[in-house]
């Protein structure tokens, strides 16, 4: 049994799913991994698989300084209503019809955790 647990833990560590394991917001982390990683990247640094072809680069969520300039309500609005709603790029889509307000609020908290910056 111990060996099984050790193997499972090892597999979890090696898995790309576990890059940001240990979040205080596991559901938001799951949503990020499902919806945001395609552009913002596995490492949350704005270098997702879609980023290379984009005219405007996705935000680097690990950039403490840049992220600390964005208030929570603006971040919420950008996720819910898309980039245009906060005078940013159309390439940031509208997620308000996929995620609930509660899920978006939790994503904002998760982004604060990711950037290690409060607001």
């Amino acid at each position: 049994m111990k060996r099984l647990i050790a193997h499972s833990a090892l597999a979890l560590c090696l898995s790309p799913l576990a890059v940001h394991a240990g979040s205080a917001h596991p559901q938001a982390e799951r949503n990020y991994d499902t919806y945001c990683v395609q552009c913002h990247g596995v490492h949350r640094n704005g270098k997702g698989i879609n980023a290379a072809h984009m005219s405007v680069q996705p935000r680097d969520h690990t950039d403490s300084k840049a992220m600390s300039d964005v208030p929570d309500d603006e971040m919420f609005k950008a996720i819910k209503e898309g980039g245009l709603a906060v005078n940013k790029s159309i390439l940031m889509p509208v997620w308000g019809k996929v995620l609930s307000d509660a899920e978006i609020h939790e994503l904002v908290a998760y982004l604060r955790e990711t950037c290690k910056c409060g607001k």
Binding site: D33, T34, Q38, K47, I49, N50, M54, L91, V94
Partner: protein, 224 residues
């Protein structure tokens, strides 16, 4: 004699259909949902191995299906589900090709049988029949809306190597997909799966017609 021939014909057709259905179960059901799931979830997205096919009859064109099943080429650059196929690249995330497996290839008779069985799969849901009106779209304007103005190119390619990789390529959409399906999916992807990673952009009717028309006018592999 005529009755006998009719009965024979009916019997052959039934046997043919049964073969296609059997092949579907044997060859396809392991990776694709052939009937609507009782409920969708993010966990289901992460665990499924291929796109849902329970509305294939509303989605695909027969000629494309028959040809593709005999010589499948990848439609989703990032695989299904894209998140399972990422690795660190030179400058950000990259597709880990070693984790992508080739699609099953069928002989011609099997491809025809499977295509016909797939085309018999429909759901009461969400394709709006007759929604796409078929008006001609300026290729230049269509490309501009697909790229800069509506952001579809963030995730989809309208020419090989041009656009994002987390969604299916769309430069073969005109031979692969039904126009009403394209319209309906762009309009409300969550009607097909409440958790799918394509967002509902809330596009108006003129955008839906323009983008559907643009994609349906694209010749496979042509530069837009």
């Amino acid at each position: 004699m005529r009755h006998f021939l009719s009965a024979l014909l009916l019997l052959s057709a039934t046997a043919f259909a049964a073969d296609g259905s059997q092949l579907l179960q044997q060859q396809c059901a392991q990776c694709h949902a052939l009937s609507a799931p009782p409920q969708t979830s993010i966990d289901r997205l992460w665990s499924r191995k291929g796109p849902d096919l329970y509305y294939a009859g509303d989605k695909f064109q027969r000629n494309w299906l028959v040809a593709w099943l005999q010589a499948p080429v990848r439609i989703r650059p990032g695989g299904e589900f894209y998140r399972h196929h990422l690795k660190d690249g030179a400058d950000g995330d990259a597709i880990d090709e070693t984790t992508l497996t080739p699609h099953v290839k069928l002989d011609k008779d099997s491809a025809v049988a499977v295509a016909d069985a797939l085309l018999a799969l429909h759901t009461p849901a969400p394709v709006e029949s007759g929604a796409y009106k078929g008006a001609a779209v300026s290729a230049t304007m269509g490309a501009m809306f697909f790229g800069k103005l509506r952001g579809c190119a963030a995730c989809h390619q309208d020419a090989p190597g041009k656009g994002g990789m987390s969604g299916p390529e769309l430069y073969t959409a005109s031979s692969r997909l039904n126009a009403d399906y394209v319209y309906s999916y762009i309009k409300h992807p969550q009607a097909f799966d409440a958790h799918v990673w394509m967002p509902d952009a809330g596009l108006g009717e003129s955008d839906l017609q323009r983008l559907t028309g643009y994609l349906m006018q694209l010749k496979s592999g042509a530069k837009p």
